[in-house]
Symmetry: C2
Subunit: 180 residues, 2 copies
């Protein structure tokens, strides 16, 4: 039972790539495949649509057996030390020693809070780098999908009519690095 | 003797603001003015020009008594666990308990490495948020200053003929948050 705990920002990019790269052992700094069987997405309430996209990707694209859940941290933004502590506590509530924490998404202060939580319990630190030349294509795709939010919700529930669009959010050349 | 240790990316924004806000006690989560008298900028070799801008700002704009130094970490980018460790070690070589580490600049993995170093020795964590509406103006100014790099170097050495341009890089409404 290994968990991948990820922070989420305004693009879904990286969550799936991080998961699949770890599972296939296609990662820099890892020592072979990592049997991730649960993915926890820790996020603020403001990135609800991004979460729907991630859910749709994990439901419709090729993941194998994995459980994916989200956890909405009780803060809006990183405005003060309490927000920071609340986000860190949210990560601490799901991460355990030996898990993997990907801090790539979300605001920098969220990434830092997640990384501190990870090290507090002895979890690994992971980041996934999506090729910069992919940004334009993926952002355009997100814009299109925002126009069909209902279909994205359907996809997240398993009705994958827009599978091609949803799975197009995944970037082939993403590199996953296990930093610690 | 309190140090402010900052990570640096492609914009100088935030370093001066963080310093001056701490010194004046104009910070969220701080308990009054912080007597910062040394600023260490930890950076990769690739952001040499940004460092010159920071140096020019601290030399020509209104700082009061402070020593500013840079430390070039022996890595190019965050490509593997060794890069991460090297950056963390660079921060560890200058930070001490009770210091302040601002992780706002640079790549996320640099921010995380700096934050882990900070917590390892019991230093505070700081981030400075520049108003988004400032980005365009500041980036345009950086572009202009790149065209007169010789004058920026002069300013960094104390010949502040382009003081107005250099000090224009500072954003008035920046908020500094002491997170831990």
């Amino acid at each position: 039972m290994v968990r991948l705990v990820v922070t989420l920002g305004t693009t879904p990019g990286g969550v799936y790539e991080s998961f699949i790269n770890l599972r296939l052992g296609r990662c820099i700094g890892c020592v072979g495949p990592v049997g991730v069987d649960e993915v926890y997405v820790v996020r603020s309430a403001s990135v609800e649509f991004t979460w729907k996209l991630v859910k749709a990707i994990f439901t419709c694209c090729d993941t194998g057996d994995v459980v994916i859940k989200d956890l909405v941290a009780p803060m809006e933004d990183m405005e003060d030390p309490e927000d920071f502590r609340r986000f860190m506590d949210a990560v601490l509530s799901v991460v355990r020693g030996g898990d993997y924490v990907d801090f790539t998404g979300g605001r920098k202060a969220m990434s830092v809070a997640a990384a501190l939580a990870a090290r507090e319990v002895g979890a690994h630190l992971v980041t996934t780098v999506v090729p910069p030349e992919e940004y334009g294509r993926v952002n355009e795709l997100i814009r299109r999908l925002r126009g069909v939010e209902g279909l994205v919700e359907e996809a997240a529930r398993g009705n994958c009519g827009i599978k091609d669009l949803v799975c197009g959010l995944v970037s082939g050349g993403a590199r996953t690095i296990v930093l610690m």
